[in-house]
Symmetry: C2
Subunit: 220 residues, 2 copies
């Protein structure tokens, strides 16, 4: 059974993997906030335990077992976030830190019950997909609001970043998943956008914000 530390490495590997499934030591080091020698030594341990494939000076790759375990931890994280929001009344900006801890609980039935009580959700409160029990997750094909054009109508579907600060910013602007947004204009100078949604009309969103909003286009 993977230790809590190992689980965190597997999760990071899963999230950082490029199209070839490869992750560099330095990326892991940054993501997990530990030194490169620590990563180097841990990666050897992960290999010894069958979670990754690794050769000196080469990027790291998850084995199928590693992928499965990583997906389950991510599943438990996202189910927990969903449970906290939908069943316990937390705000979407409060749940990540709690889920970081709850995801490591070893009790399959606990998460099965959450899943059941939630009605088998496929996305978490931030729009990220929840892997199923086989570790598979639904493909999503959202586009960044920053890449949309003036005149388009879109629906906010997910976020590329779910930091508390960003979520609190969205709360303050009354923006949540499912909000329908009309794009009025896009400023050529700084790429900021003027948009309307709900009661908010002609709100300006900076490029920094638009980049992090993933949307589904529903019309011109």
């Amino acid at each position: 059974m993977a230790s809590q530390t190992e689980e965190n490495y597997l999760k990071a590997l899963f999230n950082l993997a490029n199209s070839a499934g490869e992750v560099n030591i330095s990326e892991l080091s940054t993501q997990l906030q530990v030194s490169m020698p620590t990563v180097n030594s841990m990666v050897k341990t992960l290999q010894k335990n069958g979670w990754v494939i690794y050769q000196k000076y080469k990027p790291v790759q998850l084995t199928p077992a590693g992928q499965k375990t990583a997906a389950m931890v991510i599943r438990q994280h996202r189910l927990t976030e969903m449970f906290l929001v939908n069943k316990m009344g937390f705000g979407w900006e409060e749940v990540h830190a709690i889920a970081e801890q709850v995801e490591h609980i070893h009790a399959p039935k606990f998460f099965e019950r959450m899943d059941e009580l939630l009605g088998y959700p496929t996305i978490d409160p931030h729009g990220s997909p929840i892997p199923d029990k086989m570790g598979r997750m639904k493909e999503t094909h959202y586009v960044s609001l920053a890449d949309c054009e003036a005149g388009q109508n879109v629906v906010l579907a997910a976020l590329t970043n779910s930091s508390t600060d960003f979520l609190e910013f969205l709360n303050s602007r009354n923006l949540s998943l499912g909000t329908q947004i009309a794009i009025h204009s896009k400023e050529a100078y700084d790429q900021s956008m003027v948009v309307s949604y709900l009661e908010n009309s002609k709100e300006t969103l900076s490029e920094k914000v638009c980049e992090k909003l993933l949307v589904r286009i529903i019309g011109e």
Copy 2:
């Protein structure tokens, strides 16, 4: 902040403390299933961190800080058990192992929300008292069924042991907290008791079982 290991030692100390608040090294060793040298070394660490008072060859005592932290961990354990049973549909025999893990989550709001959703319960699914946020818990004064007399009517209020095996035994006999029990007779030879409750009439309960059932006497 106490580590998960430290929290388990504090909890054990709280539960094992005699009337003078003292616990022997060997009791801790047995309870926690670690060697006496391990306990000896850990107790020194606990003292260094201000959780216990300790002198060579003397029993260990929790400091006020130690008592408070222990009570909070026990509170989180019991709230979790209650939440799992009342809000998530688990059986009372399934929840202890999960609660052993959940109790170590550092997220006061998580447990506050449980408490709120449960309506501020004062006992857990096994009848054990839940410490309040100050670490105080309601005094209970139950008596063991084994100490009752033939002819008495009692209500099952709590258990001295909540092992899965024992709880499954009680399930098989249709016994749960709140069940009203009439005592018909007590066998002088083996201290077993013949009792009736609900649809079960003239059930025989061994001394071993009766000792573990805590009851409130409601009449002759």
